[in-house]
Symmetry: C2
Subunit: 259 residues, 2 copies
């Protein structure tokens, strides 16, 4: 396991150099972001999908067409600074590179979407274990039976992330994450995974399985991987995303998103 | 003075019938909305302007092109149900009708934007006088020296609304409005209007002047009239907005926007 750095610019530099690891626990205290990149022709649909589905898709920055730069991290390059990407053609995954410079065109627009990792730091500070950080793995993510509100040519199910929380700390987890409405906010569902259409928690659709111990409840938050489920369901001709759990590390402190 | 109704559908029916009054104090407890309508070609710029300027332009619904219907009020028609509209050509105000059916085309997209009236009801309930409701007038609004973050072809200054608040209730006004981040949230500026570039509070750029009494502080909130200032600064070929203070009354309870 590669030891995470606490500095966001250093994290991006190591990913730029080719390090491919999930970013949970990296640069704690700085917001991480999901990413979806689409051609300009699809940008309105993507932006509207975020506006209509703010719990799973809280958009925190949008680039100008062709620009790989973001207001969330000076000097960062979105083509190289994430640890892993996914390239999609007609809704099919065709590549998982660590660099997308070869795919870049002046027509592409990148959307950065808030990430639930932002509220993991204050949850840890409150003494709530985040199991996938303890184990150095990736958070568990699942497609649900809850449809997103469609936007133009984009539609698909809501994706959730899951964290096992001791029953006597669930209320604290709700209270703490609820202070960050711009980065998914409070859970969308607590316990009862079957009601979300999740048949087996041990086989997540994205990320790694996470152990749920006696006395723990699975708690579900809306997840920024939802646009990838929309790509799979809607088959746009071309898109690039981050690889689930391999996020863009910003220079923006988590507390920026607290209310 | 026409007596306001407490029922949002009844309010819309009276405006549809031609009643032209500011909507402050109408259907208390239900969210009101600013509106900007642009051709499909400008819709991405308008949506991105809202994403990049969430304090003045919190977008709460977007219609599909050509549809005058919104998820915020079943059966409402955005072409007739506001008490007054403004029609803009090349950034110039050309008409202020009570009905825009004659201007409507299948190419138009409407954006509904949160309104600070939403937090006036809980402020009243906390015993804070809202002067423009007391007097039955329109809230005072001012262009400021604070530029919005541009989006495509749209740019312009932030507009603020002003309410005089007793000095010993300003903290309460901050706390209460801060619970509604999706509808402008906490004030952007308290006291010191000159620092916002406002030379004379008695001559607002939009709405009516409001008396400020001894012991009261002018408190400024980001305002959903900001897109109209962007229209004046950016000269899009065509746009329709609500008339400032003459809002769209939704069926959505104010508490929907509380965190």
């Amino acid at each position: 396991m590669t030891t995470p750095t606490t500095d966001p610019a250093e994290a991006r530099a190591r990913f730029r150099a080719g390090l491919r690891v999930p970013t949970a626990g990296w640069a704690p205290g700085y917001a991480q972001a999901n990413m979806i990149i689409v051609p300009r022709d699809y940008a309105y649909d993507a932006l509207l999908f975020g506006q209509r589905n703010p719990k799973p898709c809280p958009i925190i920055d949008v680039t100008d067409p062709g620009s790989p730069h973001t207001a969330l991290a000076e000097g960062a390059d979105l083509r190289t600074d994430l640890p892993a990407y996914r390239v999609w053609r007609d809704g099919e995954l065709v590549d998982e590179p660590t660099d997308i410079t070869g795919y870049w065109t002046d027509d592409l627009v990148a959307f950065l979407i808030g990430c639930s990792f932002t509220f993991e730091t204050p949850m840890l500070a409150a003494g709530i274990e985040i199991r996938h950080i303890t184990t150095g793995g990736n958070v568990s993510m699942y497609k649900t039976n809850r449809p997103c509100r469609p936007a133009g040519r984009l539609s698909g199910p809501m994706v959730v992330s899951m964290r096992p929380i001791p029953a006597d700390r669930v209320a604290d987890a709700v209270r703490i994450s609820g202070q960050f409405p711009a980065v998914h906010g409070a859970p969308v569902h607590i316990g009862e995974p079957e009601a979300l259409g999740i048949k087996d928690l041990s086989t997540p659709d994205f990320g790694d399985p996470v152990e749920i111990r006696d006395g723990e409840v699975p708690v579900f938050w809306a997840c920024g991987v939802t646009p990838q489920a929309a790509i799979m369901a809607s088959h746009p001709p071309f898109a690039i995303t981050h690889a689930p759990g391999y996020m863009f590390v910003t220079d923006t402190p988590d507390h920026t998103y607290a209310v």
